[in-house]
Symmetry: C2
Amino acid sequence: MISQTAEYALRAVLYLARHQNGDPVSVETIADDLSMPRNYLSKTLHLLAKRGILTSARGPRGGFELAVPSDELSLFAIIEPFDELEGRSQCLLGRRECSDQAPCAAHHRWQRLAQRVSTFFRETTVEDLIAELSEPSGATAGHASRPG
Amino acid sequence: MISQTAEYALRAVLYLARHQNGDPVSVETIADDLSMPRNYLSKTLHLLAKRGILTSARGPRGGFELAVPSDELSLFAIIEPFDELEGRSQCLLGRRECSDQAPCAAHHRWQRLAQRVSTFFRETTVEDLIAELSEPSGATAGHASRPG
DNA sequence: CGTATTTATCATATTCTCATGAGAAAAACA
DNA sequence: TGTTTTTCTCATGAGAATATGATAAATACG
């Protein structure tokens, strides 16, 4: 659904959000804890820093931090630098122009779903997901998840 | 959302469904009409034939035909040989095990959407999409009544 | 049979994603 | 200043997805 790179970015940002203590976190720490390739993650987080989503600091005690409050940081903002979530990927049959006025065969049925997915990424924040982890599981779950 | 190859497969099957007249259609005809790479499409349709979705015939007057009635042919059946639509791809954060009992941070929010997408592919048939094309535009849901 | 037509198959090329490794550049600190 | 730590940047490579071209195999039809 999303690329490996975007998945790394998302998981790393969630990690940063859960480990906010005023100090930056190094790429090495994140890569080790999340089992990701270190240099590749470095490049990935660098791009998020360029986009203003993270701040980076070099040297001792350096690393990455969230630059945006987690309740103002959408999943869309994190993924969008890597994957094209909207635009031509919205048409299931790959047409450049696919609209209510000029629909492909799948348009009416697919568009509703694609819109829901789009809304999910745009409206779900990092804070929403963090909160999910620390809440007792809902009516369907049998075991409470533990933060950590 | 789906791979280029799966998109070719889907579009080609829709083409075959709309051009059923008892005769097979050659790869060349499809590739030309739909602007797809000919040999690549050949390989793609060959796999669908192996899966029993199409029949193929060599030689003059040969080509491909639907092997399944279009109202019994789900989009899932067409795409599944090429893309993994379910399984590991269901977890937004890429975890192997992600369930109500052991959810990732995104599970409860994402799973509902992923399930809808899955259902779309499993329950939507080729016939559904063909019918969509011949209906007056503007309908947002369900089937419009047809004259005659 | 012979030939044209068409799929089937193989080899290869191209492009993109994912990943590794080696340094360069910056910053903290003794 | 020098050393260490860290990000930044570049070069490169592996592998998958996408695509092309050539040839083999099957089939219709004269």
